[in-house]
């Protein structure tokens, strides 16, 4: 303490006595209140001990799950519901031009049929336009080569 007085004069001027008060009788009944709380906690059943404690966290978890489900439904409605599974002439031509060495008539037919089947399986309401079927029928009937198609387009 003498060191403090010499080195830190401001601090040494301040009295060290307790300058916080407490309510009257606080220490007299603290042990009683503590005992009641311990007794209450040890008597708590499964619900009070775990469910009540976990309730806020369960609510947050349920909120996240709900948001994920809502997001998934929204995604399905907005994107998957509106996909048109048909290829128009321009798209077929584009496919052929880009992948000329890999495409065959059979592959074009398979792709178109695959899209048709996907639309049917997912019960998506596709347009009833018969242009796709017409293209396939035409190719088969006329025995047309892919290069002929490109020339025509």
């Amino acid at each position: 303490m003498d060191d403090i007085n010499k080195i830190k004069p401001e601090l040494s001027k301040i009295k060290k006595d307790k300058h916080f008060r407490i309510p009257d009788g606080y220490f007299d009944d603290f042990s009683v209140r503590l005992g009641e709380r311990i007794h209450r906690e040890s008597d708590a059943g499964f619900y009070e001990r775990y469910i009540l404690t976990l309730k806020p966290y369960l609510a947050i978890a349920a909120l996240f799950i709900g948001m994920i489900i809502l997001g998934k439904i929204t995604y399905n409605v907005l994107y998957k519901g509106n996909i048109s599974s048909e290829l128009n002439n321009d798209e077929i031509a584009q496919l052929i031009v880009e992948d000329i060495y890999y495409f065959s008539e059979e592959l074009i037919i398979d792709i178109v049929y695959q899209n048709d089947n996907q639309a049917r399986d997912e019960s998506i309401n596709i347009e009833s336009d018969n242009s796709t079927n017409e293209i396939i029928d035409y190719l088969i009937d006329e025995d047309i080569d892919v290069f002929d198609i490109i020339e025509a387009l």
């Binding site: 080195i7 001027k13 300058h19 042990s31 503590l34 311990i38």
Partner: protein, 186 residues
């Protein structure tokens, strides 16, 4: 009852506690024996009486649950003091996490609490000292409180905070310098 708390040594109290018939009595005596010292230690960190009461209860409830397996490597008071310190620091950390705005300073809030606290009856200088203490990091404030107000030896503080004596001396020295500067500047 208050006089009887001093009739038992810590060892006797622990033996009584380990006996189911006298467990509650033993714990009651332990609480009455150490409640004041633990209270004031927590109060100097937490400042508010109501919050101190919460932390006090948490401290002794933890002690109740862990006393059975208390290994007596340190004294009972040192052990309780350590629990109280951890609970007080946990309380302050939880208070910080409650506020999402980064600007909010818990220590600044505590200083403001002091000014209007009906349970603070210090003079102007003592209020200034408390505000100075609240500018220190929590652990440094702890060291200062234990050394300056509680007059504890560095070896005792070292057992409680699990910090070396040398580090504690340095921490205390810095704390005193910072407080002195604050008192001079304000």
């Amino acid at each position: 009852m208050a006089g009887k708390t001093n009739d038992y040594t810590d060892k006797e109290l622990l033996e009584l506690f380990r006996n189911d018939d006298s467990k509650n009595l033993a714990f009651n005596i332990i609480v009455r024996k150490y409640q004041e010292r633990i209270y004031w230690h927590i109060r100097k960190i937490i400042i508010s009486h109501d919050d101190t009461d919460d932390v006090m209860q948490n401290t002794f409830i933890k002690a109740w649950k862990a006393l059975e397996s208390f290994r007596e490597a340190s004294g009972l008071y040192t052990w309780l003091y350590r629990i109280a310190t951890n609970e007080a620091l946990t309380f302050l950390n939880q208070k910080k996490k409650k506020y999402f705005l980064p600007l909010i300073d818990v220590n600044k809030q505590l200083a403001e609490t002091l000014e209007t606290d009906e349970y603070f009856n210090g003079d102007e200088l003592q209020l200034k000292l408390q505000k100075a203490l609240l500018t220190l990091p929590e652990k440094q404030r702890l060291v200062f409180n234990m050394k300056y107000f509680d007059d504890m030896k560095y070896e005792e503080i070292s057992k409680i905070l699990k910090t070396s004596v040398g580090a504690l001396k340095a921490s205390y020295h810095h704390a005193v310098k910072k407080i002195e500067k604050y008192l001079t500047d304000h």
